[in-house]
């Protein structure tokens, strides 16, 4: 029963009263719509009380309003990793700041006779309410963590059910008393708003932020001079603050973005198992490729013959690539006479690998700078960038038993005899070049 009153009755009582009394005060007591500043009575402590208090409470209040007004956007923001922590931290820090400021203000009120003279009972009630309300909120935030998340499904619909005149207290009825009191506190503020200096909430002087500072002065020459100096000082300070705020804001945003990128860059990717195994597979393939390469190198250092291809695999139109003793590419073809043609495939111009397709004129092409090499002689075409012929490579044909059937060293005549039947069974090998000393 008490719940019904506190969660449905009180809200409507507060809203109706605030509306009626607020409109009345707006129309009939226009000049009382103020915070009743006491700055001219005491301004040193005020700075250290009022500034933190207002900064803190504005941040907290804006958070509450944002969540209530745009619950979907609010929830969407919270899905960003880390956002909940950032928002909760900002909220708690801001409320602590507000409490600190409010305490300073209370001490200030209680220790200055001048201020006590202008303090009303309503002021004391408001201060007590504010302090209680913030403490309740803070305790809720720490005892029932992540209110920024769970509020969008509970308090926010409740708030809108009240506002849209379909009161539904079941959203919040099961909350602990502590949090219910926080809700009740909220309605109480609306209730007392038109009767206290809290009314200044509705007269937020936003345009103060952008307008030039104004000074109210006694009008005489000396004061005017002072005022000019003071205005210039204030003006330049304002420009400086604006600039600093802009630069700091931009730098801050950039630093935030950059550090986020940097942190993630150094954190590295965290691939899922599938992607990770895919990566590992690729790496392994490359390693095997390298191992193969090394194997070839070792083989070339150790053995006197390197297998190129079965004789039957050789053709007249397409060369077979292999790696020669210098670890450079070589090409093997079948010549018109049926004997193998074995050439280096490293272009004598700038060392590109020449192509393996033989054109109509019995030439292969180096694609880099267009040199055609005759495979029969190795000679480049006239006017080609390459001037020297592709060097021939010494080869040997061996039968299955490993017996040398025929061989030819560069610049020397053919050794051994060849007949077509025997050749078919042979394999083509390149022979280790004799080191010229």
């Amino acid at each position: 029963m008490i719940d019904v009153f506190l969660l449905i009755g009180l809200p409507y009582l507060a809203l109706v009263t605030a509306l009626v009394a607020g409109v009345w005060r707006w129309r009939n007591r226009r000049y009382s719509l103020s915070a009743r500043s006491s700055q001219f009575l005491e301004d040193r402590q005020l700075l250290w009380g009022s500034a933190p208090w207002h900064i803190g409470i504005i941040v907290v209040l804006l958070g509450h309003i944002a969540a209530a007004a745009f619950p979907q956007i609010w929830s969407a923001i919270l899905t960003v990793p880390g956002a909940v922590f950032i928002i909760e931290t900002i909220g708690v820090a801001a409320s602590l700041l507000a409490i600190a400021g409010l305490c300073t203000l209370v001490v200030r009120r209680l220790t200055s006779a001048r201020l006590q003279a202008v303090t009303t009972n309503a002021d004391l009630i408001v201060v007590a309410l504010l302090l209680a309300q913030i403490l309740l909120g803070l305790i809720t935030a720490t005892d029932y963590r992540y209110g920024s998340v769970w509020s969008t499904g509970t308090v926010v619909p409740y708030f809108w059910s009240i506002v849209t005149l379909h009161p539904e207290m079941s959203y919040v009825a099961d909350f602990p008393m502590l949090f219910k009191l926080h809700i009740v506190g909220g309605w109480l503020f609306i209730l007392v708003l038109p009767f206290t200096r809290l009314i200044h909430l509705l007269a937020v002087p936003i345009h103060y932020l952008g307008r030039a500072p104004q000074l109210v002065i006694w009008n005489n020459a000396r004061r005017r001079q002072h005022a000019v100096v003071a205005t210039i000082k204030a003006e330049s300070r304002r420009a400086f603050l604006k600039g600093t705020a802009g630069v700091a804001g931009a730098t801050g945003l950039m630093a935030l973005g950059v550090s986020e990128k940097l942190a993630n860059f150094f954190k590295g990717p965290r691939p899922d198992p599938e992607a990770e195994s895919e990566l590992l597979k690729k790496k392994l393939e490359r390693l095997q490729q390298t191992a193969q390469e090394r194997q070839l190198e070792l083989e070339r250092q150790r053995s006197n013959f390197i297998f190129v291809a079965r004789y039957g695999e050789l053709t007249e139109t397409k060369g077979k690539y292999f790696t020669d003793y210098a670890m450079a590419p070589g090409l093997a073809f079948k010549g018109k006479d049926g004997l193998p043609i074995v050439l280096s495939a490293k272009c004598t111009h700038l060392g590109c690998t020449v192509g393996s397709e033989v054109d109509g004129q019995g030439r292969v092409l180096c694609p880099c700078h267009i040199s055609y090499f005759s495979i029969a002689t190795g000679q480049p075409n006239d006017g080609a960038p390459a001037k020297l012929p592709l060097p021939p490579i010494g080869w040997a044909l061996m039968d299955e038993a490993g017996k040398e059937v025929a061989s030819r060293q560069p610049g020397q005549p053919l050794q051994g005899k060849v007949d077509a039947e025997l050749l078919k069974k042979c394999g083509l090998y390149i022979t280790k070049p004799v080191k010229s000393v």
């Binding site: 990128k261 670890m327 700038l350 880099c368």
Partner: protein
């Protein structure tokens, strides 16, 4: 000339180039002024190159965290950076864009300082360190190009190094084998392989940065000591303070440059200008890809190399190098008008060869 006189001469020569009495904050920063005239924009180019170098250091260090300089892993690690590391593609892309921009900046810097005759006494040392810095920057480009270890990179490096060996054919007797020995020393083995990759890596990330830092130190010190060169013949109507006025303007240019760089890095992959698939890893048994070209900043020497006999290009390079180093003395008495004309001619040549080199090549070679 007696020994004493010789020492005295050296002393006064060095003393004029590095005036100790000016090595203080007041004259190097507070009193320094920058003339304001038609060619003032040239004063920003060197700073821009410096900024791009700083970008290269940062992005390069970041890449270093993931890059692995072995023939089996290099390509895979670059691929990993591009495809898997968060923001890796951006960092790598900025690194390659900034490298091109840095080379463009140092080339323009050379031309503008040449046109402004900024090498005149006592700024000879500034000019010569600048020429060395240009060479180091080109070497940065050449060594960095190999590191991803893909088909184009390895084959382009092979061809580049092969040109050294080519010189051998013009040398007499025993000397003819030297270029080959030099090439193999640079490569570390008979053909481009793991040793080459290790050496280029060491050059790119340790030796060249250190040498650029040393040269840059001398270069910047002399710039601050001697102040900005007047640049034009008529006395400047106005001068502005180097610090903070010009310095802040410099920062502004840097900011714009970074914005451009960042947007390019984010939106335009550097590889998109290549006609061939960049991302096939180097395969020693495969044939050289069709249409292989060096990076754009070598076009000015690459296309002439394709068109003219090799010895002409080599001779041209040697002459060009000698002229660049000796510029402060060769052009001692040339007036600024002639300097500007020469610089414009060189600039036009560079632009035409870089943009239309291929068309010119096809014009002559079909």
């Amino acid at each position: 000339m007696s020994v004493k006189e010789a020492i005295k001469n050296v002393e006064s020569y060095v003393g004029e180039r590095f005036p100790v009495e000016k090595m203080n904050y007041a004259s190097m920063v507070q009193k320094k002024e920058v003339p304001v005239h038609q060619l003032s924009w040239g004063y920003y180019i060197g700073g821009l190159a410096l900024f791009l170098f700083i970008v290269q250091i940062f992005t390069g260090l970041m890449l270093l965290f993931y890059y692995q300089p072995t023939v089996s892993d290099a390509h895979a690690s670059v691929e990993y950076i591009t495809e898997h590391v968060p923001g890796g593609a951006l960092v790598r892309n900025i690194h390659s864009w900034a490298s091109s921009m840095m080379i463009a900046a140092v080339m323009i810097h050379l031309l503008t300082t040449f046109a402004m005759k900024a090498f005149a006494r006592p700024r000879e040392i500034t000019w010569i360190t600048g020429v060395v810095l240009l060479g180091v920057t080109f070497m940065f480009g050449f060594t960095g190009y190999l590191l991803p270890w893909h088909q184009i990179a390895v084959n382009a490096t092979k061809i580049g190094l092969q040109t050294i060996e080519e010189i051998g054919q013009y040398l007499p007797g025993e000397l003819a084998t030297w270029p080959r020995a030099i090439k193999e020393t640079i490569q570390g083995e008979a053909s481009v392989g793991q040793a080459t990759l290790s050496r280029f890596f060491a050059l790119h990330v340790i030796i060249l940065p250190l040498s650029i830092a040393a040269m840059l130190g001398i270069h910047l010190l002399s710039v601050q000591l001697h102040g900005m060169s007047a640049g034009v013949d008529e006395a400047p109507k106005r001068k502005e303070k180097f610090f903070p006025t010009f310095f802040l303007k410099d920062l502004k240019v840097w900011g714009v440059a970074f914005l451009v760089l960042f947007i390019l890095g984010l939106c335009v992959p550097f590889e998109s200008f290549f006609a061939y698939p960049l991302f096939s890893p180097f395969d020693p048994k495969g044939s050289t890809p069709d249409g292989i070209k060096p990076e754009w900043y070598f076009f000015w020497v690459y296309y002439p190399l394709e068109l003219l006999p090799f010895w002409m290009i080599m001779l041209g390079q040697v002459v060009l190098g000698a002229v660049l180093v000796a510029t402060p003395w060769i052009f001692q008495n040339t007036n600024r008008r002639a300097m500007r004309l020469l610089a414009v001619a060189a600039g036009i040549y560079l632009i035409v060869m870089t943009l239309f080199g291929e068309n010119i090549y096809h014009l002559f070679k079909g």
